[in-house]
Point group: D2
Chain length 473, copies 4
């Protein structure tokens, strides 16, 4: 089980999380992974930035706030006998953080490895509180620093797990606790290299920690506790009648996340897919609700019927187009070299399309990666652009991506027509379309200003809303 920041956000929430843990623990061994208390990670990062900027006063204010938050929580959460030890622990950890922050203050520089070491203190604090609370409730528990369990490469700030080493460590560190009915409370987000230097996991964060741990221990199931009821058919901020899905496949979840949905980051799924471990996405504020189950293949729920299962959108994207000029360079060669440049730049392509005699090659990137993408393209084609063998690169940043996702879509005749008609009913122009033969996503690029209306229209047309039910399809 993994509890995110809001599920760990106060003494009450920690109590609730502990209850959910012990309920399951009564039936089968449970290990939990915890995030830092809500907003604590931001506070820690802000402290480090202030330290780098030389703002000693700001740093001290933050340190005080951090201490206050955790000490208050200790007092509310723990009976007298347990408070002192916990508060000592909190002070020790905050002292460790303060020492790093002071070092950064002196250097005026914020080295990556030190940042990784420092921000993990948020999770270490919440693991300490949770373990202390469980112990105070007569449930045996132990805070475990993930640096002891999860081994990674040394890409500080965005490390990747080394699974074999992690399996060995989990067997040595976590397994013995479970065998003795002690609940391991593992810090999320952080890890360490094989030679012990602290790292963090970057994208995917504590979810990724939980997935790695579940895979390393061949867990029966992984439960991700959040503050929403499950994975939804659409973003409820944009689509009032979006509803929670009973079940979704790993692939669908990956596609939704890739196209901007706030669900599990795709990299989180990789270790689970390999071991075929089902994941529950559940609401710790409403644990009685069923949540969404992420599985390899859809079972027999209401969502099994064909057609799209969810719609998502991404506003911060840009469409880039390159095109050969004259016959000096074939379009195919141009595309090959462009893709090579983008690959070496580490830019992810959200969608690609090319359909014409002109061999215009058009692709969608995240706005955050646009600058890097253009730099690498311009470097790769410096001479060709100068000599006019390649037309000037065109960029349209005033666009948004809609992705309609569902395993069964190919078996739904008329779907594409209905989707595009729905979008255009509101005078929203479609700029580009890409759908591959074996894909479960239709990617549609529209003008940015029409994005929200378009995603609502598609959600409605696909009958994904709560009122409509699946029957509509």
């Amino acid at each position: 089980m993994k509890f995110g920041g809001t599920s760990m956000g106060s003494a009450e929430r920690i109590e609730a999380a502990a209850r959910l843990t012990t309920e399951q623990h009564a039936n089968r061994p449970v290990a939990i992974v915890v995030s830092a208390m809500s907003k604590v990670t931001d506070l820690l990062l802000d402290s480090l930035r202030r330290a780098e900027a030389g703002d000693e006063a700001g740093l001290d204010t933050n340190l005080a706030a951090m201490t206050e938050r955790h000490v208050t929580c200790c007092r509310a959460l723990l009976p007298a006998g347990f408070q002192e030890t916990a508060i000592d622990g909190v002070n020790g950890l905050i002292g460790e953080f303060a020492r790093i922050a002071k070092g950064i203050l002196m250097l005026g520089e914020r080295p990556l490895a030190s940042v990784d070491r420092a921000v993990a203190i948020g999770e270490r604090l919440s693991a300490l509180l949770m373990a202390a609370y469980l112990e105070s409730q007569n449930t045996r528990a132990a805070a475990v620093n993930a640096t002891q369990v999860i081994a990674t490469d040394d890409v500080f700030g965005n490390a990747s797990p080394l699974m074999e080493e992690t399996r060995n460590r989990a067997a040595n560190v976590v397994k013995p606790l479970l065998d003795q009915s002690v609940i391991p409370v593992v810090t999320g987000f952080n890890a360490a290299t094989v030679d012990g230097r602290p790292t963090t996991l970057g994208r995917g964060g504590s979810d990724f920690s939980a997935a790695i741990l579940a895979a390393a221990m061949d867990a029966e199931e992984l439960w991700i506790w959040t503050d929403v009821d499950g994975i939804m058919t659409g973003d409820p901020r944009l689509i009032p009648d979006a509803r929670v899905l009973d079940e979704i496949t790993y692939s669908e979840a990956a596609e939704l996340a890739y196209a901007g949905a706030k669900v599990l980051h795709p990299r989180t799924l990789a270790p689970l897919i390999e071991r075929q471990i089902p994941v529950w996405s559940k609401n710790s504020f409403a644990p009685e609700k069923p949540g969404t189950r992420i599985v390899a293949q859809l079972g027999g729920g209401a969502d099994v019927a064909g057609g799209p299962h969810a719609v998502t959108s991404m506003a911060a994207v840009a469409l880039v187009a390159i095109e050969p000029a004259g016959a000096a360079m074939s379009g195919t060669r141009l595309m090959a070299e462009a893709l090579e440049a983008l690959d070496s730049a580490g830019v992810e392509l959200l969608a690609i399309t090319s359909s014409s005699y002109r061999q215009n090659f058009c692709f969608l990137v995240r706005e955050a990666e646009l600058k890097v993408a253009l730099e690498h393209l311009e470097e790769a084609f410096t001479l060709e652009l100068t000599h006019g063998y390649v037309k000037p690169i065109e960029v349209d940043a005033n666009v948004g991506l809609i992705a309609v996702v569902g395993e069964g879509m190919r078996g739904t005749p008329g779907l594409a027509g209905r989707i595009f008609t729905a979008i255009s009913r509101d005078n929203i122009n479609i700029i580009a379309i890409a759908q591959g033969s074996s894909e479960l996503t239709i990617a549609i690029v529209v003008r940015r200003e029409g994005l929200e209306r378009a995603v609502r229209a598609v959600h409605r047309e696909c009958g994904l809303g709560a009122a409509q039910g699946q029957a509509a399809l």
Copy 2:
């Protein structure tokens, strides 16, 4: 002006073509480019194949048929005083062809350069007849072998023009004739290298010859005489109410041809675009009909309105999909290497799409190039496929391509929806879609068996039919 095979197919047709020529010639200087008489090129190629196979009797039969056809035409076309000279000319040319064919018979091999030399005799025969007829009608004319005018590289069977050299030759060979009011009757399809070895132009044939000549001489206009009324909104064999377009842009014409329409081959357009020479596609059987005008930008005709201008389809295509397996190779790198392999194989990609987290890369090739494409892909990824870094390449040859083309399409909201809805009304499943940001083509891949129905449905939905008029859009 260029007269194709059917426009040169008989004494009557040659008389009609001569009439069209002299009518224009009364107003402004005209050079004409002629194809071989209809079916003659096939007869010549069949003769060479028979020669290679050692079928001497078959060859002799063909030679006799060829002589008969052209001598008969001479007698029907020419007055007594002109007949003898023309018949001598015909016999001389057919003798030249026979000599090559006998050589091939002896070798049992059909070398490319000899084939190029031999098949051009069809055009030389028809140029001889046309020039003789014009002269007999008191219009001065001269048969010109294009080997004297059009210079090409030495890719026998599919040569490309060398424009500078061709401009010089045209100025020296064709211009002086025009200056003296002599109509040059230039052979289509054939040409020669700079050092005089005979070549043929391959794809685009006599149309390409005419376009090269028009560009080399900075012609005011190029008229392509065929046996249809112009460029149509769809293939009339599939779509009974397809109608002739008044006007179309170079780009639209190129896209239509690229996606399978039997209009001017795209390479034919390149020399014209460069010099901005408008092209008329007209029917020599109904010269009074306006035909279609191909221009840089649409002027003011009925087709100016936005929306698609034509629909075309291609049945002999195949959809190929490749996908990385695991993280050893990024999808972007895989695509880059695949495109490089396809480029070096000379395979043209009709459409490309990729829209998913799985980085599945899907592209459409002509069925005729599928084997070569797969061989090059498999060679490029031999080791990756063996080691499982790349999933087995998937091929779906049971598909067809529909291309909807039009400069104004992006400004037509709802179009995509209507097109896809129209296709699916008949239970035809859409397999892949590609539309780029700056493109004037939507490429749609459907199951082969639904292709004809789909193209009819799209034509109807876009209101392209004769009865519907543009009003429907």
Copy 3:
């Protein structure tokens, strides 16, 4: 056993060759591979060139000469009863050749596959004569056209063997003859594709045929009969006291051939190395002389002692140097791209050297490949040369290569010093040197005019001469 052109050059030579064959045949089964009679291949090629140029009279003269030569030989070689059949065979083959030549005459073109078919007739004639003679001497023999035995790819004029298929064919075609004590007289130089189109083997010619056959049949030994006493320490035309080597390794022989010595072409050795079949190079004019044995490892002869075994030279070479200008391109990258361009051009690099901070990269190519090499380099670096990122490519064609070859050279201290001193004694300047760590060749580039003197000086200094013996080292 393989008999070259001079060993098959007259009735007397054929008698001698037959004697050498039957002598061995008395002990163990022998198959022989024969070249065309000396100068016949040149005559055939000249005939085809004349045919292409339309010189019918010249062609007829050649045909007559060819008939005369072979018929005369039949009469001198064969007893009455055998003459007629053989002469009929000769006339038949020359008729076959004449037919191809006439075809070429008519086309004015000389297609590769027809040339391959035509030139093989030289070998088919000499195989016919040899088989007839053996039969007339009561030794059973059969002429075998190599198209029945050696399978190749379809690179006409320079085909490569397909060994598995050839092994199967040899087992079916040649083996049964040997089993019945019939001597197979196989044509050298020619072969056929798997689907029966005739090819020739190009470089290596009949030697290569013999090596392929030896390997395909797992021969005990291969004997190459030539008109020299064996492989020599140097070119006897340049070095009067060059002497024959007793023994040499495959690697040494390959290096000598690569650097210009007229010994077995390196590609000839590949099939033999794989099966470890020893080769004897012997003089058919002096069969009592021991000749040179080519083996995997030197055994116990006089040449076993360390030091160089032979010296060879090549005059028709050119030295090319490229160098980065400024820091826009590293020397290493420049070299990498240059090598890629040269590889795709199929240019062989005889030696490479680079030793300086300037990252000047200097390599030696055959003069015949210089043009192609420069074209490909200039194309690869078009833009870099224009922009001055790469200095103008330098070419020095007034150079020659000396290669000193020997397995034991690395164990001979002082050798390099003595070699270079010997060269310079005569005021010959050394332009470039390349010797790799594990190589058995020192490559030395000198001014062309000093090449002959240099090679003599090196031969003398290394004590390779007949008078000197190995003792001098």
Copy 4:
């Protein structure tokens, strides 16, 4: 003028350096660049390492030693009135260093940018002392932190100058001082990015600073003051009679440095070559000696005669050889891909050679780069090595490089012979040789244990020794 660490090593040395400066300053404007006092940079780096390791006591000892050294020097160097200010300055700078070191101590990490900022304090201390002393001697002077003058990219620890920006800054910061007869005392080794983050120049250090500044200000001459008499014909520790050269070209100096001689690092020369600024290498302990002049072309000194000018050697090198196995990959392609891998690894190739049919490709790298080189090669050829298309990579680390350098060498017949003979006289085996056509270096690889004897033998043979003079050549 640039004064190195030993020239700034004590009060006496600083006085001497000041004297040399003011002598020149009497004639023409002089700017000087100073290194840290000898051994101070090592002390600073050691301090930072101790801080990272948490050794607070060790750090404090070092800080005390540093203070003691500079304060003692102040007292010895400066009159009473100047001492206090200088000592305050010293304490201030050491305090700045201490703060960074404490920050590192707290983080347990040594970020590059902080290291760059910290180590530059050595130069800032010596610039402070020198400027104070000059002022105390009534010569106007000002310490200038190079961060104000030299702009670089942001490769911390090994930055490269941005010359245009540096020219502007030098004009604004250094020029006005010179105009007012104030001697600028610029810190060597350090610089800053355009946005002010401190960097260091890495290889070449203070020499490079001086060269950049000389070029940026279009200096007449650059004088590099060291503790040796000039650039020598060989390493005097190995060769007792090595002598100082009068004159040497930029190219020769670059080659010597590249091949291991302790002369100006090649990158130091680049800005000087571009502006053709002559460099003097002189001994600050014996300023009356002429030193060596580095110029574009040799003038008229004794060293003008042809032949080699110097010999150098490098022990810490390794020879790597790769070779294709079978025909799956041509040697040329293999080399191309190997060079690409080495280039992307940033490995410098000291020499390259390949001379054989086997297409064995052999190259020399620094031992320090061997590991990286092998890793990149093995990664590049993972599959080829596994499948046996490439033979196992061979490494010979027990070798040394001798480089014989001289512009006139190609015009010296017999030289190569004499060099190799000299080497082998002592039974030293030559492993590889590379000499290119337009190069001024012969690179010779010998067994490591023979390296010293070989370099002595070559020096003697080339008549480079003091006793021998140039006459011997």
